[in-house]
């Protein structure tokens, strides 16, 4: 190894690591900008259309939030069923998890959107006693079908997260609740689930971030122009003006920004939940209290 290279290494050792990674990021962005410029990247076009693409965010977020709420409900029910001794609950939950983890999300979306309506129609034709409008219940609009598919699919994955979270609560906790004569519901609500939540929330946040990106799949169901989400909008304007590069880069930036923002929020949330259990935090609080106590003692004559 040459002396010069060693001198560089030694000089570099004094530069903070974060600064160095920051420089790497900047260089990467500059590189991308250079490539984009060379490829004739149309910045003014982005400026003109970004607002429209960004407008899809409210639909993206609406679909993602509805989806995650449904997923959490399904995961909670699924997890409780997976730890129960009831064969019906256990079997149904096992079937649910197996099917929705075993088939592609996009297939599930089309099953709900395009394959359900004929089921309703055919049932209506076969059974005369079915009430009027029964078949219409099987016709879902694209957003509803998308939300249902996302929620059911992610719920199946999250069932395992919830089950592991519930089982991570020490066995003695459940025994103590039992010994105090609590019912199953009381035990779960007051003792087990609040403690399981600490384990469940971080991976659930990850699932939510993943789902925000999977909302783009809903556009394949064909959403009306007025209520299109981010990906659909960029597709529409990109195709119209023949600006595919700019349109999809814009869409990517929107999703990227969204996940970065949510990751920061999630990190904060995790820090907050950990508080009651974090011994370091407790020790800190006790030190503060001890200081206050010693001050009051000293203040007394």
């Amino acid at each position: 190894m040459s002396d010069a290279w060693e001198r560089v290494q030694l000089a570099s050792a004094n530069v903070p690591f974060r600064l160095k990674t920051g420089v790497v990021w900047v260089v990467l962005f500059l590189l991308l900008a250079f490539v984009g410029n060379a490829a004739g990247f149309d910045l003014p076009w982005i400026r003109d259309n970004f607002r429209y693409i960004l407008g899809g965010l409210r639909y993206t977020m609406f679909i993602a939030i509805c989806g995650i709420v449904l997923a959490v409900v399904m995961a909670l029910l699924g997890a409780l069923a997976r730890i129960s001794r009831n064969p019906v609950a256990y079997g149904v939950a096992g079937f649910y998890v197996s099917f929705f983890r075993g088939t592609p999300l996009i297939v599930q979306m089309f099953l709900l959107y395009l394959a359900l309506p004929p089921v309703g129609r055919n049932l209506m034709a076969s059974y005369a006693w079915l009430p009027e409008g029964f078949d219409e219940a099987f016709v879902l609009d694209a957003a509803t079908a998308g939300i249902l598919a996302l929620g059911l699919n992610y719920g199946a994955y999250m069932t395992e997260i919830f089950r592991a979270g519930i089982q991570s609560v020490a066995g003695g906790q459940g025994e103590a609740a039992d010994a105090l004569g609590m019912t199953y519901g009381q035990k779960m609500r007051k003792v087990v689930l609040p403690q399981a939540l600490r384990v469940i929330i971080p991976p659930t946040g990850n699932e939510f971030i993943a789902m925000m990106k999977d909302t783009a799949l809903v556009s394949f169901l064909g959403v009306t122009v007025a209520s299109a989400e981010v990906f659909r909008r960029s597709q529409l304007v990109g195709k119209a003006d023949f600006k595919n590069l700019e349109a999809y880069v814009a869409a990517a930036l929107v999703y990227w920004g969204l996940t970065v923002a949510f990751t920061v929020f999630q990190t904060r949330l995790e820090r907050r939940i950990g508080r009651g259990y974090d011994r370091a935090h407790v020790a800190r609080a006790m030190r503060v209290q001890a200081n206050q106590a010693s001050h009051t003692v000293r203040a007394e004559p």
Partner: protein, 260 residues
């Protein structure tokens, strides 16, 4: 009430264990235990680890299901076997008469100390909110932790946590308290505070207690009766002076020689 009636009440049996067997798979841990505990009585259960003493205690409130035999607490008599919905409900009603204190305390870390003490009473609708809170505070005062009521359990020492656990069990106003090695997880200097709380339960509240412990000095002092467990059976059962002073079985003698 006539004197006889009072005597009768004092003599009535709170816990009756009848021909109890318990197996875990192939391993038979408890092999036929009969034991009666009368109101106000303190029974200390001791013996080697693996002799089935903790298992018997855990069968009394159906944390473990007996394989054979039956348990009667406060007039509710139950046997082991499959837990139907109805059985589940009977078990829960039996448990409302039994307080239990665990070796590992098992306080709920998501609740404050006062919430720990009062939550079960609230779940079981044992009075108004104000009444239950008052009872919880009184009990914390009794175990000497009144000023800790809004703390979280993690900020307490082991001895303090165990005293909270005792208050939590007392808040349900049980007919009998079960102590499963309550001081085994504590540093030696912290066992004293827990034992002294247990002592006052006996002397002041005349609480019926079943205690699994290795604290022989404490046992000699508070026990009305001691039962020596050996290989899943009660080998010897007598008042402490008799059992510790002149054990009849060589096994008992060997164990006492080892621990005293």
């Amino acid at each position: 009430m006539s004197t006889e009636a009072v005597n009768d009440r004092q003599n009535d049996v709170v816990v009756r264990i009848d021909g109890l067997h318990k197996s875990f798979g192939q391993l038979e841990v408890v092999r036929g235990v009969d034991l009666e505990v009368r109101r106000g009585e303190v029974v200390v259960i001791f013996g080697r680890s693996g002799s089935g003493k903790s298992t018997v205690l855990r069968c009394v409130n159906f944390i473990e299901d007996p394989t054979k035999g039956s348990i009667e607490v406060a007039g509710i008599r139950l046997a082991g076997g499959h837990r139907t919905r109805r059985k589940q409900d009977q078990i829960r009603r039996l448990r409302l008469h039994v307080g239990m204190v665990f070796q590992q305390f098992n306080l709920f870390p998501n609740m404050s100390v006062l919430e720990n003490v009062t939550c079960a009473a609230r779940c079981a609708n044992r009075g108004t909110d104000a009444q239950i809170t008052q009872r919880g505070k009184d009990l914390l005062d009794r175990v000497g932790l009144a000023e800790k009521s809004s703390e979280h359990p993690i900020r307490l020492s082991g001895g303090q946590q165990q005293r909270v656990a005792i208050a939590r069990a007392l808040c349900m106003e049980p007919d009998v308290m079960l102590f499963d090695e309550p001081t085994s997880a504590l540093d030696p200097e912290l066992t004293g505070e827990v034992l002294s709380v247990m002592r006052t339960l006996s002397t002041e509240l005349h609480m019926t207690m079943m205690i699994v412990t290795h604290e022989m000095g404490f046992a000699r002092e508070v026990a009305d009766r001691m039962a020596f467990f050996h290989q899943g059976r009660i080998l010897e059962e007598a008042p402490p002076s008799e059992l510790i002073g002149s054990p009849r079985h060589p096994e008992t003698r060997a164990f006492l020689d080892a621990v005293l």
